[in-house]
């Protein structure tokens, strides 16, 4: 099992951060890179989406989103009762793990491309749809039986008009309307440069993650264990679901990766607004400091390996 070379940029970022190098990606460039990645992923999905009948996609989307709701609903009691966390912290972390990571998905897709494994193009639709339900479940879990008021209007605005959903859905729509021929003049910018931009983005993520890794000791062994066991369990769920839905092996690996990944861009902002009493250091530390590196280095190759075993049995 070899890993995708682009993840080495993440490692370089982590090393630079731990060594207190003066390397710093300016905030404006980071913003530009993330806009590029979100748009490119949306466009790619939109072009592929045109190849599938939308009606059948509706059914599988409902199943994929419905089953994904199990993730925060299982994570919450585990964190609350096994981990003895406060209701707000457990709910916030559950929301992070129920939501998805766009960059983890991108790394999985490039991993599959590198190994010449085919996958369905409409996976991007699931990426978009899986981003927000868990955030709402998280807020409901945090609020069940408590009197605290929720800024729902702000939460919804943040979730649906925040840049990640806006750009993903926007790119998806533009790609779908334009089709492969219409999008061809943009190919060089959005598709050919994608991997290079992903490398820059991972470098910056390594820098940010290094500051989280440095204080891993403070999270306690329970949370570290959770941040590794939870994604593997969720990935297994995703693989079996992928097989049950008749997806290709590559498609099942992507569903597994989506289920396994934890959000660290949309979820932190949404939880900070809706569940402010939760400690953001715990949830971001677990998702970005542990789960993200675990997924890109070990998780994705592992999910592929498991997919081969599961599919060989059919």
């Amino acid at each position: 099992m070899t890993f995708e070379p682009v993840v080495l940029f993440f490692l370089l970022g982590v090393i630079a951060g731990l060594a207190r190098s003066d390397l710093k990606i300016p905030g404006a460039i980071y913003e530009a890179l993330s806009i590029f990645l979100l748009l490119a992923i949306g466009l790619k999905g939109g072009v592929k989406l045109a190849e599938y009948p939308l009606a059948s996609l509706l059914f599988t989307s409902l199943v994929v989103v419905g089953v994904a709701a199990l993730i925060p609903l299982v994570a919450f009691p585990v964190l609350r009762y096994l981990g003895r966390m406060s209701r707000a912290d457990a709910a916030s972390i559950a929301a992070h793990y129920g939501s998805v990571s766009v960059v983890t998905f991108s790394v999985a897709a490039t991993f599959l491309d590198q190994h010449a494994v085919a996958y369905e193009g409409h996976m991007i639709v699931y990426l978009v749809l899986l981003e927000f339900p868990a955030l709402i479940i998280g807020v409901l879990l945090a609020r069940a039986g408590t009197a605290g008021q929720t800024r729902w209007d702000q939460l919804f605005h943040e979730v649906f008009f925040g840049k990640s959903i806006l750009l993903l859905i926007g790119g998806l729509a533009i790609g779908y309307l334009a089709g492969p021929d219409g999008i061809a003049p943009l190919d060089k910018l959005f598709f050919d440069l994608f991997k290079g931009v992903l490398a820059f983005f991972l470098l910056e993520m390594g820098l940010v993650a290094s500051s989280r890794i440095a204080d891993l000791r403070r999270y306690g062994t329970f949370l570290v264990g959770f941040a590794i066991v939870m994604p593997v369990a969720a990935a297994l769920l995703g693989l079996f679901l992928g097989r049950a839905l008749g997806l290709s092996e590559g498609g099942a690996v992507l569903i597994a990766t989506l289920y396994a990944s934890a959000s660290y861009i949309a979820a932190p902002t949404a939880m900070r607004i809706a569940v402010p009493e939760a400690n953001p250091a715990l949830s971001i530390g677990a998702s970005l400091g542990i789960t993200f590196p675990f997924n890109i280095f070990l998780g994705i190759p592992l999910y592929w390996w498991m997919a081969e075993r599961i599919y060989a049995g059919s």
Binding site: L207, T269, R272, P276
Partner: protein, 96 residues
Amino acid sequence: MAMANSLQLVIVTESVIENTIIEEILALGAKGFTVSEARGLGTHGMRSGRWTVGGNVRIEVIGDADLCERIVATLQEKYDADYGLLMYTFPVNLRN
């Protein structure tokens, strides 16, 4: 519009609630405000400004003592418990 006894109120808080705070300030009667991004260390931990959720903002409002008092009281009641929030005032001489 030189005003005697003006105060500058500086609010340092988390960038996730920037828009909410600005709405509060305007609703309480402020005529304007200035926002800049900020980095630093406080009791809510290091705010490096590297990450969307980890950023801080510094909001400045100029007004009379009464306005500043209303803003401080409102923000303290609603946001002090859950968010990083630092507020201070000093006298200013408005020159135009």
